[in-house]
């Protein structure tokens, strides 16, 4: 072997050994990375590609009885800028401007200080798509569901409002917050090098989203009530006005209006407007309350329909106080006449025969001084002194609706009990809760009407209905009459207490009318309250005509059979 060939072999050997060593070291490094650094690198990668996102559920809709949307949530976006990622600020500015988003000059100075600078709120998805398609760095999008009320201030007090986080804080939004909200779910997502996202598991959004709440409220009846009541509210420059329409057989509330109202989509400036007068405000009912005393007296057989009472020529002195009748009746009058002419003196004499204990019992039986349990927050119980604490004036004044505080809902419930043959039903607004299609009428989650108690017998209820019919036909409620239908009802003109003098005011009144149609077999009961009407305060000229206007349209809409065709 020559020297040259030996050198060649040794060179080759060195090269081979070097290569082998190189690969050996690479192999060692691979072992080190794959085995010893495995968990560390894995964690770093996981942090880079795996994200835990919360899938926010869509809040359920609130629908009217016919499935029309009254409140719904839609996805809106907040667009923000991250100055650290922006390559060309002018291009970003132009793209945003082309999509109708202008960055304020003032914002430009503050932009560099933060990685999250919101520039537009409640942006529609189509605009976001337009911006996204340009694939610019430094523009971020954040989605959030926003609550919308397509009919504006319509049914505002019943629907209520939500806070900025989407939680119900008033009305049905609050009562049904739990079922409307749905369930938030944590979803793991993986992001690849190009920024594409893969979801770890498929989430059926329909299963996590909130349930729909369907109300007994009929949009058309509600509209009729709102329109007519608003007219009267402005005409009489009233302090507040209330209208409730109820189905007496089930207790279902078909319409509920409280004025002044608000637009739930707007920012609420005065929190007082959120108060639902129909359930939260207490007032002295006046003569509409007389049916309680009469029903109790008839039920207890303390008086007869044909019985006559001496009406003291319109002035009656009790416990040093003089009680007057607005519609003076000379001499004697029957129970029918007393109710027709709304005689305070007559009703006092009837209630005296009944006695305080019995009267108190029936007031409570009719549901006064108790929560009705309606599915709305903020219901008031009313004011009623315990019978043991009644003074000499309590029985007579309460008999004609003074010295007792009631809510509008309690009054209509009491009238509905008379209309429903003496059975008091629980008033309720929610028809069903569940994710049924808007057109679908049947639902597994339909709430059934609840019977509270029998207050008076069928016979007594019939007698009261006849008296109420006569009141509209011949008495103070004439202006509530409508063509082709019999109407039964009672007016109430109640003096208000002047807070400064703490005596009954001669200026401020509450005019109300509660009536039922058809009178003897009622399908609907309607209550109208106008608080502090200006210029005229008598219920028969303020509240009864509003009742007639609403009743006329409602019976036509509900297709109630005419019962007074001549």
């Amino acid at each position: 072997m020559t020297r040259k060939s030996v050198e060649n072999i040794s060179r080759k050997l060195v090269l081979i050994v070097t290569v082998i060593l190189l690969f050996f070291f690479l192999f060692l490094k691979l072992i080190y990375v794959q085995i010893f650094l495995h968990s560390r690198i894995n964690n770093i990668v996981k942090k880079m590609i795996i994200r835990n996102n919360i899938a926010v559920p869509k809040r359920g809709d609130i629908l009217d009885f016919n499935g029309k949307i009254l409140a719904s949530s839609i996805k809106k976006y907040t667009i923000f800028l991250d100055s650290k990622l922006i390559d060309d600020f002018n291009e970003v500015k132009n793209v945003l401007l082309n999509n109708g988003i202008k960055i304020k000059e003032r914002s430009l100075n503050e932009l560099e200080k933060t990685s999250y600078y919101p520039i537009a709120f409640n942006v529609d998805a189509c605009i976001v798509d337009g911006v996204k398609s340009r694939r610019l760095k430094g523009i971020g999008f954040e989605s959030k569901y926003k609550r919308f009320y397509p009919e504006g201030r319509f049914l505002a007090h019943v629907l209520g409002i939500t806070d900025s986080d989407g939680n119900g804080i008033e009305g049905i939004e609050k009562t049904c917050n739990e079922c409307l909200s749905g369930y938030s779910v944590m979803i793991k997502t993986r992001r690849d090098g190009r920024g594409h996202i893969i979801y770890d598991r498929f989430i059926d959004k329909t299963k996590i989203c909130g349930q729909n709440v369907k109300l007994n409220i009929d949009r058309n009846i509600q509209f009729i009530a709102e329109k007519e009541l608003r007219k009267a509210f402005y005409k009489y420059k009233a302090k507040r006005a209330v209208c409730i329409i109820q189905n007496p057989k089930t207790g279902a509330v078909l319409a509920m209006v409280s004025l002044p109202d608000f637009d739930p989509s707007d920012k609420i400036k005065d929190i007082k407007v959120l108060r639902n007068s129909a359930i939260s405000d207490i007032y002295e009912p006046g003569s509409t309350f007389k049916i309680v005393a009469i029903a109790a007296a008839l039920e207890q057989n303390k008086v007869k329909l044909t019985e006559n009472f001496y009406l003291e020529n319109g002035r009656y002195k009790i416990a040093g106080h003089i009680i007057k009748d607005d519609h003076k009746i000379e001499g004697y009058a029957s129970l029918k006449k007393i109710i027709e002419r709304s005689s305070n003196i007559g009703i006092i004499k009837i209630t005296k025969k009944l006695g305080s204990e019995n009267f108190y019992e029936y007031i409570r039986k009719f549901g006064f001084y108790s929560l009705t349990g309606i599915d709305l927050p903020g219901e008031a119980k009313g004011i009623l002194m315990d019978v043991d604490k009644w003074n000499l004036l309590s029985l007579p004044t309460i008999s004609f609706g003074q010295g007792i505080g009631v809510t509008a809902l309690q009054v209509i419930s009491a009238f509905s009990a008379i209309a429903n043959n003496g059975i008091l039903m629980k008033p309720f607004l929610i028809y069903s809760i569940g994710n049924t299609k808007t057109s679908e009428k049947s639902s597994k989650n339909v709430l059934n009407p609840i019977e509270v108690r029998r207050v008076v017998s069928v016979k007594t209820a019939q007698m009261i209905r006849k008296l109420l019919k006569d009141t509209v036909d011949f008495g103070t409620g004439k202006s509530a009459k409508i063509a082709n239908y019999t109407v039964g009802g009672k007016t109430g003109t109640a003096q208000k207490v002047d807070p400064s003098t703490k005596n009954y005011s001669v200026k401020h009144y509450v005019a109300s009318f509660c009536g039922m149609i058809p009178a003897m077999c009622p399908e609907v009961v309607i209550l109208i309250i106008i608080d502090e009407p200006y210029s005229n305060y008598y219920a028969y000229s303020v509240a009864s005509p509003v009742f007639a206007n609403i009743a006329k349209k409602t019976v036509r809409y509900l297709n109630i059979k005419e019962d007074d065709i001549e």
Binding site: K68, E151, H196
Partner: protein
């Protein structure tokens, strides 16, 4: 010799099937994710349009338009019902 060829082919085939399965899974995951996003988008659009329809058909607005156009409720005898 023949047996060892078969084993090699099976191993290669196994590796190939495994890689194909992994690849398909990832491809489908992308597809599902994209479809899910698209579904969400269409759903949101649908909600938005439904709300818009309800907003346009708001009774107060319709009443206002009817008043502006001097519409009135027709008499019962001027309506012809078609069965």
């Amino acid at each position: 010799m023949y047996k060892s060829y078969v084993v090699i082919v099976l191993i290669v085939l196994g590796i190939f099937i495994y890689m194909w399965q992994q690849n398909t899974a990832i491809r489908l995951a992308y597809k599902v994710s994209n479809l899910e996003l698209e579904y969400d988008k269409i759903n949101s659009e649908n909600d938005s349009l439904r709300l818009k329809i309800n907003s346009i058909l708001a009774l107060e607005k319709m009443d206002k338009i009817a008043k502006e156009k001097n519409f009135s409720k027709p008499n019962e005898n001027s309506i012809i019902y078609i069965d």
